[in-house]
Subunit: 149 residues, 2 copies
DNA sequence: CAACTAAATGCAACAATGTTGCATTTAGTT
DNA sequence: AACTAAATGCAACATTGTTGCATTTAGTTG
């Protein structure tokens, strides 16, 4: 919810402003990675105008507070879905609908750290994106395939 | 080696050109992620001039052939170090010196796929970057720390 | 509630990065 | 040496990202 993010902002000493609420609302609603200019365009369409500089600065802040994430394979920003303890970020990215789901798995981090340690590397945290199909898109794909069989 | 990459180019029906050799040479030499314009600047410094459009097109091609990779946390391009069977890409990124080392681990992929499958997701391949310290930087860090103790 | 102030925003100007169409050049072939 | 598809360069353009500074505003204080 946007509400909780605003509480987090305030508790960290940042002001709750129109810009910050609007950006969070768009990210919440869309649930796909959005670039700063994407966000500006979407807001425009709903009659709200925000300077792109403000959007950049807002996204910077949201990411610093782990209220949003910068997706790397796809390049946009999404709403953070988990409460963050460690610094490891893992995502499933659906190549069908573009939706993204965040997850955490300590055992996996542990295994990955072990592998890199064996190669002499001292890992502090991980970033990973798994590319594939979400349940919906997988089902649709199966249906479509069976149509032609 | 650049030589092998050129052989690969030719065997795939692409021409071996000055641009392609130069871009590969820079990537080989530097071993850190370089942006297209980084590459242009480095070449400039050694008296070689390449149009930035050509560099973009060259990097596109090298990536399509898995002769280079586009790094996501850091944003630049690096030389591919492994022969690619599957589509999974994993890297260790040193936050000390910026160097990058590529690795592959089937067991890890298997585990990660299992975790996402339990969440209803059908994973096709993975991309991950482990952030930490390479052996050299880790050693240096230890030495520096002991200086002040 | 009115005054106050540090923080946030907007604006303008700029810098960097990335894309497209088309004329020219060139690698590899005949 | 001639040929040709592929690659390059160039120009023009589009998009994305950054900085300094004047103005506005959220949250606080009296
Ligand atoms: Mn998160
Ligand atoms: Mn590789
Ligand atoms: Zn989907
Ligand atoms: Zn290092």
């Amino acid at each position: 919810m946007v509400q909780e993010a605003m509480v987090e902002l305030r508790s960290q000493g940042y002001k709750v402003t129109r810009s910050r609420r609007l950006v969070m609302e768009v990210l919440d609603k869309v649930d796909k990675p959005l670039s700063p200019y994407d966000i500006q365009r979407l807001l425009q369409q709903q009659g709200e105008s925000l300077n792109h500089v403000t959007i950049y600065r807002t996204l910077d802040l949201l990411c610093r507070l782990n209220l949003a994430h910068h997706m790397l394979l796809t390049g946009g920003f999404i709403r953070c879905a988990l409460s963050h303890q460690g610094g490891c970020h893992r995502f499933m990215v659906c190549r069908g609908c573009g939706s993204i789901r965040e997850f955490i798995d300590d055992a996996l981090c542990h295994e990955e750290s072990g592998i890199t340690r064996d190669l002499g590397f001292h890992t502090e945290h991980h970033y990973s994106e798994s590319l594939g199909l979400c349940p919906d898109c997988y089902r649709k794909r199966l249906e479509k395939d069976s149509t032609y069989n």
